[in-house]
Each structure stands twice: as C-alpha cells, then as structure tokens.
C-alpha cells in the first residue's frame, strides 16, 4: 500500500491505525463505529458527513491562505484610535511568540510547573504598577474596551450597587464607549458625559478620564478629580502606556483604577487582536479586581515561588457572585509586552516614546505654521487637525499615497505616530496635508515624571544584549511543562496539538500588520477567510450565522446570553430574566448570566451525574413567562453524552425559553452531532480548545458564537460598522489568530474532523478502561462508555492513605506530567481528557504513572510508608532535593525523582510545593522598586 505522506489528519491524530486496533481490542470492541454508536445517542447522531472542502495538505493549505491573505493591502497606518504600529523585537518573536514552549502551555493553575510564565507575568504586573503608579496590577485583561467595562464594574461593586452612574470626563474611543455601554445596561449602570463636573454627585460610582481622549488631547482634569474625591466616586484613568513612560503616573494624580491596552508594547495590531489590556488598582480595591493576579509566595522549602493569587474572586469559585466572568486572559501577549519592556528597559521605552512625541509635536507645529488648526494644547502621539469640509478629500489623498489616517468626521482628521514612523513617512504625510515639516518643536506633553525612578527593578536592566535576552527567555521556558514536552490531560480544556502549519500564518505581515479600522477594501483577505470560517463553523454546528467578535469563551457566553435577552425584549417579553443552570455547570456560566442581567436558578443533578430532567421541567414550569434561557454543556461537564438533551431543549422551548449550549465540550461532537440540530439556539465555540488555537499559557482564546436565524439580528454589532452592542473592541475580535482554525479545518476535511472526534472518544475510553481497576470512573453513559473525557475518583485514597487529589497532581510532576483537571466538576476527583492528538505510547505512559501512584498510595495505606513522609505528600521533588546531603525520607532518591526509571529527558520542577495559604494571606503582586529593596 502506498504511504500517504501528506495527509494532515494522520499527523494531527496521535494513535496510528495499529494503535487504534490495540485500543479497540483492549475495550473488547470490533470497530471504532461500534464504540461511537454505543456512546453517542442515536437521537442526535448526524447521519451524513459534514459538507466541507476536501482536505488540503499543509503546503497546499498554506499557499491557498497566503494567496487569500495576500489580497490584504498593508498601508502605513496613522489611524491610532487604540491600535498602533510597533516593532516586535525579533528575539521575542522567535524565542517567545513562535516558540511552542510558550504558546502551548496551559493557564498556570499548577504553579510548580508554571514558574517561567508566572515569573514573566509577575514582571508584566510590575511594569504596570510602575507605569500607572498604583500598587496592585493583574496579569492582563482581554482588550482596552472590556478593561474599561471591567473598571466600571469594579466601581459599581465598590459602591455595592448603590451608585449607578459612570461619568465620562472626555470622549473615549468610540469602540471603547460602545463596549462600556453594552456592559453597563444589563447590570443597571448608566454612562453619562460630564458637564463641567456638574453631574458628579452621590449617584456617581466613578469618573472615567480618557488619558488622552479620542482626539489625542490631554485635558486638565484637576477639578474633575477633586469633584470625584469630594463625592466619594472612584477615578478611572484610561491611559496610553507608552506615554506613561514620560508623563506623570495617573496613580499620582488621584486615579484609583488605571486601564489601557499594552498592544503597542511589541504586539502586532493583527486586525484587532489579540493583545493584552492592563488594569491596576489602589490597594483598597484589590479584592474587586477581575481576572488573574500572579502573586509571590514560598514553596515548602521556603524558596520564593509564584502562583495565581486570590482565586476566590474568580468565577470558578464565586460563580454568580464573582467580580467578573473573565477566565482566560491574554497571557501570551502580556508576556510579549513584558518582554518588550525588559528588552528595551526604561531608557529604551522613553527614547521610543520621545521619538513618537517629537513627530507629533513637529507635525502639530508645522500644521499651525501652515494655518491649520490642531486640537488641544497637550498631546502625546496623536494630532487632530481641523479641516472644515475637507476631511474626506484629505483622507482619500493620504490613502492614495499609501497612508491611512483617521477621518473623525467631515471636518476633522486625526493622525497618530508610532514606533514605526520614520522621517520618510513623516515627510510624506506632511506633504499630503501641505504642511512644511518643522525640523524641531517644543514638547507639548502634560506634566512629566522623573524618569530616574521608572522601572528600577533589576529585571528591566539585565537583558540588553540579544544573547542575554535569548537565554532569559529560554531559562523561563525551561521551568515550564508545556505540550512540547508531555501530554496535558486536562479535562474540559482540550489540550490538543497546535500544529506548526496552523501557527505559521499568524506571523505573516499580511495577517499581523493590518489596523482593525482600515477601510474594508484593504482587508479582502480577512473578509474571505472569515467568510470561509463562518460557513464552515455553521456547517459543523448546525447554526445559521457565526460572530467571530467574542475574544474569549467567557465573552462568547456573555454575547450569547445578551442575544437571548435582546431577542426576548424585541418580542415584548423583557420580563424573561431567569436563567436555568445545572449545578454541574462551569462557574463562568452563572457569572456570565449575572453580567447579562439574568437571575440564576440552579437545576439539580441526579446521583449518576445527569441533569435532573424532572427538576428541569418543574423549574421551567415554575418560572414560566419569566424563563429566559437554559445554559447547558454538552456532552455534560461530567464527560457523558446524556440521552435527554433533546427533551431538555424541547422543554425549555415549550416554556418560551431559549437554549444556550456551552461549547466547552464541542471536541466530542464535531462530525457526529450538531447543537443547532438538536435544539440549541446559540452556542459558543472555544476555538482555543476544539479548533487548535493554542492556550498561550493562559490566553489568548476566542469564543465565537453560532446562532439560529432568529437570533442573528442580536449578534454583537460594532460602531465601525454603524451598529452597536459590541462585546469586544475590534469588529472581528482577535482576528489574527483565526487563520489557525482556518488551517485546521482546511487540512482536516470532514472525514478527518470526524475521525479526530472519534479518536478523542476512543482515547478517553481506553484510559477509563485501563485506570478503572485503580480509580473508579465516576460517571458513564447508558452504554457504560464515557465521552471524550472521564472523571477518576481519587477520594477512596484519602480515606485509605490520607492522600489528597492534590498530592496525586503534584506527584504526577515527578513522573513528568501536567496533572488532569482536579476537583472539578466534583471535589476530590480528577478529570482526564487526552484529546485525539496524544499518541498511544504517551497515553500508556500516563496510565502507567497513575497506576504506579495508586500503588504508592497502597503502600501508605498498608503502613509500608508513613502518612506524613511519603513520595506523594512530599511531591514534587526538585534537583535541590536530590543534591541535598541530608535525605530525610524513608524512600530512595531514585523513587522520588525517577519513579518511572532513569530518564535523561526528565522534567525538573524548579520549586517544591507552593504554599497557597501564605501567598493569599500576604499578597505580593509586583516587585518593589530598587530603592525599596535597598532599604
């Protein structure tokens, strides 16, 4: 038989055909089809193959996509408006952004194997505290617009919902205002423009100060800040972080919260994303901060180590009482921005900022000398010219010369300079406007800061040569366990292969260097690619339209619920405000429902883990004309294809509700069943799970939503398109990573996608079968099979040996594995999801490790190992432990460190177990300045 060398599906799927036969034999099954027909209910099973293009090889798909994206026109952008050209340092591009050690890592819940990216995120937070002058920073938010919405939410909660107004002290960028408005209304907040400070009063939760405003102008807000303070309102500044290297930090003039976009710190515009937004707050607001915070703690030997801190703020614990629904943020992009700052240091950043400002100042001076009016006295990078009646003509002239400017209206144009501006481009731009370029001009910045005290921490001074920077990034990457080393069997997270061919297009200039508000005729490649994805994802899910805008799964949930709410309102049924959510749901669901203005009512689960259909029917009937929606995950969060899903959807519809399907487990359905066919009205798709976008060590993710036709009018709009209710800053969200999913679908084809799903289910069932004698499998479907993941019950070991699920998770590190999801959705258990991409040898290595750990627990239970000094409770073991003179354990160093035999490629955790309690009792989320360290 000839060997097909270029069939991508065979490369994507881990087990070969022989492996598949061996796994089926272990399960006692004659074929994959017998497994699938026993697992997936007939009532929802798709009878035909999906209608998708025949699969292309890697090289064909790459050349097709290159041709398509090559249609984009990459003009020099002076548009600004929150997105700026910048140079990605090549050392960062190659060693971080394009390095699977960084982009295939998971969110750093397992701190001991995540020290590298946690450390870099800690530096990101330090950078943000330095720039903003506020002590507490988080490890990124999704974009500037959602960051402003989150800040407003913090203010609302700070006043315990008793103050319902946000006052704007100047104009925000239109896309930021739009998202802030979308997010404000459902929770009962109103956003009002300031009228000379007069409207600040005892209803004001916060005053938002754009720094600068959308015209690039820095106003004098002294009186506004004083009025806010007098009224007890918070002050939120929305600040450009490059300008902050030169001008006084908002935290020093009264801001309680500062937010903004870090995009221009070394992340391409990417037609809108992804990039990291930042947030810093005063100490009093720490516990209201949304999203991840990296904190410093110590390990069990007293060495410093990092971890995610104060997680009780977050949706996975606090559910509908969480500060936000945000989960995945933008870790990879935050780390790029931190690296940019480390690479340039404060002097380099200030030099870049000064150069940008000099261009703006010279342009403004030249304009004034030419008789053109320029807006505002103080500015940093953007100049808004008054051109009565001529704006359209001038914008067209600039475009003709290969430059894009921002046409604000018929009478004004704004131009923004950035790191990529050079003398030639500057001269060309001046020529378009008939401006005689000034050779120098006085600075026009607001109050300056003392640069000597900016970013004095050693890390910002230690990597000036490329050799040092390259090794710095390598040292950090080596501390982490990502998919480039081992399987990451995280249930519900779908850590599948992120193939190189899928990732390559993200770096293409035709993908990376487009401004999201470039004229439509500049982005036909993007339009074509997104059009393909819309069609393909509709075919895969059975929906009528997909919106790419939500830039995280949580955003997809929010956008979907909002669509449902607006649908009910449009029919005069605005009173429908109850959202049914099963007790087994992911915490984001209730958090999203709360943000969408819905009241959460919990539906019970039965003892076998299924949703209690009788309870669902009773509650749907009880709430009747108040019923807005059911949020349901399918296959269930317990890893089971529930038989009753069609019945559940029908019940909700009978009572006038809509069905929101959480697509977290879509990887078990692609090619086998379609949510749009069995009753869902809307569903989000985690492209970072099922469709190969890497997790990036905690983001980016994307959560497009698919809807049936009646909900299409209620999909997120965008001010750039002349519509509203946006949920993200950019019309197409994190557009520059959509090619990853395009490549995956293009290379897999319908049969390949279906086989991937079937192999994911086979892999999970094989693991369940192998491990069941050692760890009971908690939930199974009617046929005794699991879906694409399985829950292993480790609680019996707690009783018999005092071994906790956490001990097992940490012991897996000694065996070279990232632990499965622990204690979710059931406390004290592990949820394992191998995905289709893991080869049989790796799956067997994992099973062997779990069986060996069960044996170790048995020895503890039998008394052969003490309960307070054994390889589980002491895990993970480090190189320091091995080298230590004193070995105070009743088991050998070999058993501790090489439990599966000597291994030259062993992963060495840099720290032993991190002390969570110490880290939460004493939050340290930024490195203090050098002066503080010295004292």
């Amino acid at each position: 038989m000839p060997v097909a060398v270029d069939v991508f599906a065979d490369r994507h799927i881990g087990p070969g055909r022989d492996d598949e036969r061996r796994m089926l034999a272990a399960l006692g099954l004659p074929s994959r089809e017998t497994l699938i027909s026993a697992t997936v209910p007939d009532s929802i099973r798709l009878s035909e193959e999906l209608d998708l293009p025949a699969p292309a090889s890697e090289h064909l798909a790459l050349s097709e996509l290159a041709a398509m994206m090559g249609e984009n026109r990459i003009a020099r952008s002076f548009i600004g408006q929150g997105y700026h050209g910048c140079h990605v340092p090549p050392v960062v591009q190659r060693n971080l952004f394009e390095n699977p050690a960084w982009y295939t890592a998971y969110t750093p819940y397992q701190a001991e194997i995540s020290q590298g990216r946690l450390e870099l995120l800690f530096h990101f937070q330090t950078l943000v505290t330095e720039l903003t002058g506020l002590p507490i920073a988080s490890a990124s938010l999704l974009d500037e617009a959602t960051a402003v919405a989150e800040a407003n939410g913090v203010a609302f909660r700070h006043h315990r919902g008793q103050r319902s107004e946000i006052v704007l002290a100047g104009e925000l960028h239109p896309q930021v205002l739009d998202v802030a408005m979308t997010r404000a209304e459902p929770i009962g907040l109103t956003i009002v423009p300031a009228e000379e400070g007069a409207s600040i009063g005892d209803k004001t939760a916060a005053v938002v100060i754009p720094w600068p405003d959308t015209y690039g102008v820095y106003g004098d807000h002294t009186d506004t800040v004083a009025a806010a303070k007098a009224a007890g309102a918070l002050v939120i500044a929305v600040a450009d972080p490059l300008a902050l290297t030169l001008i006084e930090a908002p935290g020093h003039w009264g801001a309680d919260i500062v937010v903004g976009s870090m995009q221009r710190y070394g992340v391409p515009m990417g037609f809108g994303g992804p990039h990291a937004a930042y947030m810093a707050v005063s100490e009093a607001l720490t516990r209201l901060m949304p999203g991840r915070i990296v904190g410093q703690s110590v390990d069990s030997r007293g060495r410093p180590g990092y971890r995610l801190a104060l997680q009780t703020r977050e949706q996975h614990i606090r559910r509908d009482k969480a500060t936000s629904n945000i989960c995945t943020a933008q870790a990879l992009l935050a780390n790029m921005s931190a690296s940019y700052a480390i690479w340039h240091g404060p002097e380099g950043l200030r030099a870049i900022a000064a150069r940008v400002h000099a261009f703006a100042a010279r342009f403004s001076a030249g304009a004034k000398a030419t008789g053109l009016g320029a807006r505002g006295e103080r500015f940093f990078d953007a100049v808004t010219l008054s051109l009565p009646g001529k704006a359209r003509k001038m914008a067209a002239a600039a475009e003709k010369a290969g430059m894009l400017v921002r046409k604000i209206d018929d009478d004004a144009i704004s131009v923004a300079f950035d790191e990529t501006t050079d003398e030639r481009a500057f001269a060309q731009l001046c020529a378009v406007f008939g401006i005689e370029p000034a050779s120098e001009a006085e600075a026009a910045l607001p109050a300056l800061r003392d640069g000597a005290h900016l970013m004095t921490q050693p890390v910002f001074h230690e990597c000036r040569s490329e050799t040092e920077m390259m090794r710095f990034l390598r040292r950090l990457a080596d501390k982490d366990l990502a998919l480039d080393r081992a399987m990451i069997p995280l249930g519900s997270c779908t850590m599948k292969l992120n193939a190189a061919a899928e990732l390559m297009p993200v770096s293409w200039p035709s993908v990376a260097d487009l401004h999201p508000f470039a004229p439509k005729e500049h982005a036909p490649g993007y339009a074509a690619m997104i059009g393909d994805l819309d069609r393909w994802l509709c075919e895969i899910t059975g929906f009528d339209k997909v919106s790419m805008q939500p830039n995280a799964g949580s955003q997809g949930e929010y956008a979907g619920l909002l669509a449902i709410r607006r649908y009910h309102q449009s029919r005069g049924e605005g009173g429908r405000n109850v959202c049914l959510i099963p007790s087994s749901a992911h915490g984001t669901n209730p958090a999203s429902a709360h943000m969408a203005g819905l009241e959460v009512v919990v539906v019970k689960c039965t003892n076998n883990g299924d949703i209690d259909i009788a309870d669902l029917e009773a509650k749907a009937a009880e709430y009747g004309d108040r019923l807005a929606a059911l949020m349901v995950t399918y296959p269930s969060t317990h890893g089971v294809f529930e038989q009753g899903v069609r019945l559940m959807c029908d019940t909700i519809h009978q009572h006038g509700g809509q069905v929101y399907l959480d697509g977290a487990n879509l990887n078990a359905m692609v090619g086998l069943a379609r949510p749009g066919d069995f009753g869902a009205d809307v569903c989000h798709m985690n492209l970072h799970k099922t469709f190969c976008i890497p997790h990036g060590g905690g983001g980016p993710g994307i959560g497009p939503i698919g809807v049936r036709s009646h909900l299409v009018p209620f999909l997120p709009g965008h001010v750039f398109e002349g519509t509203d209710h946006a949920v993200s800053a950019a019309p197409e969200g994190s557009a520059s990573i959509l090619p990853i999913t395009w490549m995956y679908i293009r290379m897999m084809g319908a049969a390949g996608l279906r086989r991937a799903t079937e192999m994911a289910i086979l892999n999970a069932n094989y693991i369940a079968k192998r491990l069941e004698p050692h760890f009971p499998v908690l939930y199974k479907g009617r046929s005794g099979r699991v879906a694409h993941e399985c829950i292993l019950d480790t609680r019996p070991l707690k009783d018999s040996a005092g071994v906790s699920v956490e001990d097992i998770a940490k012991r897996l590190i000694d065996y070279g594995f990232h632990a499965p999801t622990i204690s979710w959705p059931v406390a004290g258990t592990m949820m394992v999801e191998p995905t289709e991409s893991e080869p049989l040898a790796e799956i067997d290595r994992f099973c062997d490790a779990m069986i060996a750990i069960a044996d170790e627990a048995r020895r503890i239970a039998d008394g052969a190992l003490p309960r307070d000094n054994n390889p589980l409770i002491n895990a993970p073991h480090t190189a320091d432990d091995l080298a230590a003179e004193n070995w105070p354990h009743p088991y050998s160093r070999m058993e501790a460190l090489f439990p599966a035999g000597a291994d030259a490629a062993k992963y060495w955790p840099p720290v032993s177990r991190i002390d969570n309690v110490a880290g939460d009792r004493n939050l340290v989320c930024a490195c203090p300045p050098i002066e503080a360290l010295a004292s």
């Binding site: 516990r287 104060l310 997680q311 009780t312 614990i317 606090r318 009482k321 204690s823 969570n916 309690v917 939460d920 009792r921």
Partner: protein, 122 residues
Amino acid sequence: MAKKYFTEDHEWISIDGGVATVGITGHAQEQLGDIVFVELPSVGASLTKGGAAAVIESVKAASDVYAPIDGEVSEVNSALEGDPAMVNADAEGGAWLWKMTVTDENQFNGLMDADAYQAHIA
C-alpha cells in the same frame, strides 16, 4: 451568664446584656481550612436575619456568614483583617466577627443550643 446559640449555617451567637456576639463555629473553620481573608460588616450596618453579613475565605472557597438575627452592627473584630488565621485558632472565642443589637428576642427560638448543633453536624 451569656447564652449561646447556633445556626444551621454554622454561625454561633452569644447574648450578654442585650448585646449579641457572632462568629463561625469550630466545625465551620475546620471545613474551610486555612482562612486567608475576612471581610467584616460596617459598624452601624443594619442586618436582617439570614442576610449575608460577612465573608470568610480560604484559598479555595469563599463563604458568606449570615446574620443569625435582625439588628445593628455595634462593633467589629478588626484584628481579624490583619490576622485571619485567628479564625482557625480560636473561632468560638477571640475570633468573634461582630457584635450587634438584638431587635427581636423571639428570633432566638428558631436557633439551636450546643447539643442540637452537635447533633446537626454529627
């Protein structure tokens, strides 16, 4: 002599001279594990029986503490804010959460005594 009552939600309340002192039970702190944060009500806040009044957090859980009776907060144990571990060490003594007035003595009727609470958690 102070009288002490317990709720099903694991609060204790002791009454002495018209002032009630509220905390969480030893059993509750044991279930929560190492306490890392305590958020107390404001002095002067008016509480309603069954309404959330304080929050106690461990690394992995955040628990509301409910007011066992109606009344107004007269004093809070601010020391806990700097040293939340006190709740683990002395939940039913020095780690009381707040003191409050008593509006309706009849509300004690629905609460448990020590024996009934022991039976409740057994």
